[in-house]
């Protein structure tokens, strides 16, 4: 079976995390599962990059962490969007849109 996964382009992981958290607070594992499912099993976030990214976003103040109970009732660290994170998500979405449109345009005309 050929591997359907593709590597994430630089900088898109933050966007994906913010987008996922826009639906509600989640812990790390759920975030990676969700991205995996929503992308039809194409995008797979490695833990090695997920957690440093979460900690980085937290430091920037775009997400905040809180401890809560997981779906199977265990203590887990949940992340949630902050207001500035929400703004950042909008900015990044627009940027992304611009970028993909531009790339599509180039690919279409060339």
């Amino acid at each position: 079976m050929p591997d359907p996964r593709i590597d994430l382009p630089q900088g898109t992981l933050d966007l994906l995390i913010l987008r996922t958290l826009a639906l509600g607070a989640q812990h790390g594992w759920a975030i990676s599962e969700r991205i995996h499912h929503v992308s039809s099993n194409v995008l797979r976030v490695q833990q090695g990059s997920l957690y440093p990214a979460l900690h980085r976003l937290e430091r920037r103040g775009w997400i905040k962490a809180l401890w809560g109970a997981s779906e199977n009732n265990r203590r887990a660290k949940f992340y949630d969007l902050t207001p500035s994170g929400r703004k950042q998500l909008e900015t990044e979405k627009t940027e992304w849109k611009k970028l993909t449109d531009a790339v599509a345009q180039v690919l279409g005309t060339a």
């Binding site: 812990h27 790390g28 594992w29 990676s32 599962e33 490695q46 833990q47 090695g48 957690y51 440093p52 990214a53 979460l54 900690h55 980085r56 937290e58 430091r59 920037r60 103040g61 905040k64 997981s70 199977n72 265990r74 203590r75 887990a76 660290k77």
Partner: protein
């Protein structure tokens, strides 16, 4: 950004909690993943294996998270310091040697820097000191001389490049009426003096502008020290009167404690006090102890000011040919005036001590390399566990830094301990009144040195032992080869560097030794042994006429000559090497009239009959003075050999006559010719001299010269007693043995030599240790090879030669590089040298041989060890 700070701070101060959370968070993820696989039907062990594979190295993820949180640098620094301390504690031998080496070098560097700072860098206690310029007159016959007061007034009136200009006239004052009469040093200054320097009186007022004029009231400002010592720091001192030289002065203020004029200052009076009834102030040809200080107008450069002043001097020369012919002007920034000619010595010493520091760093780097070789396994292991190269380099640098900090702390302690000794060793005139201390600037410098040193000796080994090539080489070579070719090359390069730096220092020390030796061989023209000198300056109020003055000196001579232990006693002016001078034009009878400025301009000694005997100045022709050369007798004089040779080349000199000035004075008959004496330093050529008997030229300020049969200094109190019995208010000052004056005149050179010698000995020792380390390490590495050679029949002699050759090669390359560099560097110290070329071949060859010899000795021990290798053991060792 607040969240950023909060997270960083939390991570820093609640590290444990943050770590636990991180651990918990990652474990949760891992377990959920395992659960997921188990739910999808995998057996537990397979599920865990897959999850672990996906997860990768847990530690790596943690590390990345820490980095993402941003406390990484500080936190790992803490870890590294901790780790470094542990590593250092585990190798006490290495640590002690490295720290001591660094401490010696950093201590020496810090001490010398504190001197350099005090003399060359310390901010002067004046406002905008950079635009303060000291002005003097110059004449080709003498060089720089004092300024006459009328010339100063004309300079000040004509100059536009100076916004302010003041005269500063040194005045010696006898302070009497207390326990022991003493001599204090004062300045008569133009009233704007303090305000121009930007100095405010600590108490009381500054001088008024009107106090410049003759007839000014007798007011003064006391130094802070004198106010403390003589007035008990009386807060109501202002308005009180004190008596100086029999005159009553009103205290109008006290100077601040850090005040320092061009020389030690006990008090200042307005120049109007000095000009009152003072003929010297009106005579353009009188140039005695008066300096001029000016402040450059805003935007004016020194060359502009110099050009203007030279123009003014040239105009005065034309207007007043009788007094100003060939007199120019010199401008010196006030800092240079303070520093004088010690700049070169201090810079040479600082350069030397920096070399010592570099050698010490090279040595410690070598130690690190040896230890790095022993630690390669540890490093390889850490790289295998995912540590990045930069991370390991950072950690090794931290270790060097910790080591350097210990070395630095100990070094600064050494500097603080030795600074008093060094300050005492260094002559006062070299320090120009500056206090040498380990102050903030010095500590900052020491901290800089520590950081620099840590980088110098830490970076090369760190880069080296983490070098991927070295690492793979090590893996291949197995357990025995703990260092490869690259490392040996690096270590050899370090040893070569040490050798060449040590050679440069030794050349410097060698040149200084030879200079000082040559200088001490110079015949000063007199015999300084067992001679005591002391100065007295009679108060003009009590001793206002010649008979009173002559009577006082005669009584002193009679009293002192009668003391037991005194061989002979004399008085004289302008004693050699004391910085005192009194020069005058003379005209010689029968010579064609000269144009002003080209008359002979000898130093004038006014002496009693025993002077040349007491000082041991040889009488070459004729006779010396006798007691009968008195006021009533015909005027007689003696001249020195140089004057005789230059103006009486045919030797027909006795009975010839000269007179002071150009006309009008009495003729003086030459009755004797004596040898030249060195008045202005042993390194300087002799000058023209004339002598006249003190009874025919009464002088208030004279030096008493006592030749004793034993230790001259023991006579001091007896002589004080004699003087006190004649006039109990008369202070004696500048008490010194003639030998001390001679050695004091070369003290800058001597101290430079002592310190340079010390530093080069240190450098040589360190370099020897360095080369010893390289060779003995290489012998240890080559044990196997040497064993094979011996097993195959090589003689022990061959092995010895082989190892020594290795050492000598290093030494030779070091010597070659060092010699080349020395040729350039030695020239920098040529101003410190005396009758020695900066490229003296004997010194260069001698030093090179010495260094090679020391290198061979250092290599001999490991070479001997190599010859004792047992082939069987060595072969089994592999």
């Amino acid at each position: 950004m607040l969240s950023d700070l909060a997270i960083r701070l939390r991570a820093l101060f609640r590290r444990r909690a943050v770590e636990t959370e991180l651990e918990h968070e990652l474990r949760f993820h891992f377990e959920r993943q395992v659960e997921k696989y188990v739910q999808s039907g995998l057996p537990l062990d397979e599920a865990m294996r897959r999850a672990r594979l996906e997860f990768g190295a847990m530690d790596g993820v943690k590390e990345d998270c820490r980095e993402a949180r941003g406390v990484h640098v500080i936190e790992t620094l803490g870890q590294d310091v901790h780790y470094g301390l542990r590593v250092l504690a585990k190798n006490p031998g290495f640590t002690v040697v490295a720290i001591l080496t660094l401490a010696l070098a950093i201590g020496a560097t810090t001490s010398i820097f504190s001197v350099l700072y005090a003399v060359l860098l310390r901010p002067l206690p004046y406002r905008d000191a950079g635009s303060l310029i000291v002005l003097n007159e110059t004449t080709p016959k003498v060089g720089t001389v004092s300024v006459s007061y009328p010339n100063f007034l004309d300079w000040r009136a004509a100059s536009r490049t100076f916004s302010q200009m003041v005269a500063v006239r040194q005045v010696g004052i006898n302070l009497a009426g207390i326990s022991q009469p003493e001599r204090i040093n004062g300045y008569a200054v133009s009233p704007p003096f303090l305000s121009m320097l930007g100095v405010r009186p600590f108490l009381g007022r500054d001088f008024y502008a009107a106090e410049e004029n003759a007839g000014a009231p007798a007011v003064l400002l006391l130094s802070f020290d004198l106010w403390q010592s003589h007035l008990g720091a009386d807060p109501n001192a202002v308005g009180k009167t004190i008596t100086l030289d029999g005159r009553s002065f009103t205290i109008v203020g006290v100077l601040p404690s850090n005040f320092h004029a061009l020389d030690k200052t006990d008090l200042i009076v307005p120049i109007g006090v000095w000009t009152t009834n003072n003929s010297e102030a009106k005579e353009r040809g009188e140039r005695g102890d008066l300096d001029v200080i000016g402040r450059l107008a805003p935007g004016v450069t020194l060359p502009q000011a110099r050009a203007e002043m030279e123009g003014i001097a040239a105009r005065l020369e034309k207007d007043y040919p009788a007094t100003n012919d060939q007199f120019g002007v010199s401008l010196t920034p006030i800092r240079d005036q303070f520093v004088g000619d010690t700049r070169a010595a201090i810079l040479v010493l600082f350069g030397a001590v920096m070399f010592v520091l570099l050698i010490a760093c090279a040595n410690v780097a070598n130690l690190f390399l040896v230890r790095g070789a022993a630690r390669t396994k540890e490093i390889a292991l850490r790289i295998a566990f995912g540590a990045s190269r930069s991370r390991i380099i950072r950690q090794m640098l931290t270790e060097s830094f910790v080591l350097a900090c210990f070395g630095g702390a100990l070094g600064v302690a050494l500097a603080i301990g030795s600074i008093r000794g060094i300050a005492r060793l260094i002559p006062m005139d070299m320090l120009s009144g500056a206090a040498v201390s380990v102050n903030g600037a010095v500590l900052l410098f020491a901290a800089g040195v520590v950081v620099l040193a840590a980088f110098i000796f830490g970076l090369a080994p760190a880069l080296h032992s983490t070098n991927p090539n070295v690492q793979s080489e090590l893996k291949q070579a197995g357990r025995n080869a703990s260092a490869g070719v690259a490392q040996n090359n690096l270590r050899r390069a370090l040893a070569i560097t040490e050798m060449s730096l040590a050679l440069i220092l030794l050349v410097g020390a060698g040149l200084m030794t030879k200079s000082l030796y040559r200088l001490m061989e110079v015949n000063p023209g007199f015999r300084p042994d067992r001679v005591l000198t002391m100065e007295m300056d009679l108060r003009t109020q009590q001793y206002s006429n010649d008979p009173a003055i002559i009577n006082f000196w005669q009584q002193v001579l009679d009293g002192v000559s009668a003391l037991p232990g005194v061989e002979s006693a004399a008085v004289g002016t302008v004693t050699p090497l004391t910085d005192s001078h009194s020069r005058a034009d003379i005209s010689i009878e029968g010579m064609a009239e000269l144009k002003p400025g080209s008359y002979p301009h000898p130093d004038v000694h006014v002496v009693s009959s025993g002077y040349v005997t007491a000082l041991g100045i040889p009488l070459l022709r004729g006779r010396t003075f006798t007691p009968s050369d008195n006021e009533q007798a015909p005027h007689v004089g003696m001249i020195n050999a140089l004057l005789s040779k230059r103006y009486f080349p045919n030797g027909d000199v006795l009975g010839k006559r000269f007179r002071f000035g150009h006309a009008g004075e009495d003729w003086i008959t030459i009755v004797g010719v004596v040898g030249d004496t060195k008045l202005y330093g042993l390194a300087n050529p002799a000058r023209l001299e004339v002598y006249v008997p003190f009874r025919q030229g009464a002088n208030n300020d004279m030096v008493l010269i006592v030749k004793s049969g034993t230790d001259p200094a023991a006579l001091t109190s007896a002589i004080r007693g004699v003087v006190a019995s004649i006039d109990h208010d008369q202070p004696l000052f500048a008490i010194s043995t003639m030998n001390a004056l001679v050695s004091g005149s070369v003290s800058t050179r001597r101290i430079t030599l002592i310190l340079l010698g010390l530093f080069s000995a240190l450098a040589l020792t360190l370099a020897a240790i360095g080369i010893y380390g390289v060779i003995s390490y290489s012998v240890a590495q080559r044990t196997h090879e040497i064993g094979i050679r011996l097993a195959l029949g090589a003689q022990r002699r061959d092995v010895l030669g082989m190892v020594l050759t290795q050492g000598v090669k290093i030494a030779l390359v070091g010597v070659a590089i060092g010699l080349t560099a020395s040729i350039g560097l030695a020239r920098l110290m040529s101003s410190l040298l005396f009758s020695v070329s900066a490229n003296d071949p004997i010194i260069f060859v001698g030093v090179a041989l010495m260094l090679i010899l020391v290198a061979m000795l250092a290599c001999y021990i490991p070479a001997r060890r190599a010859t004792r290798v047992d082939p069987m053991v060595a072969l089994r060792y592999q």
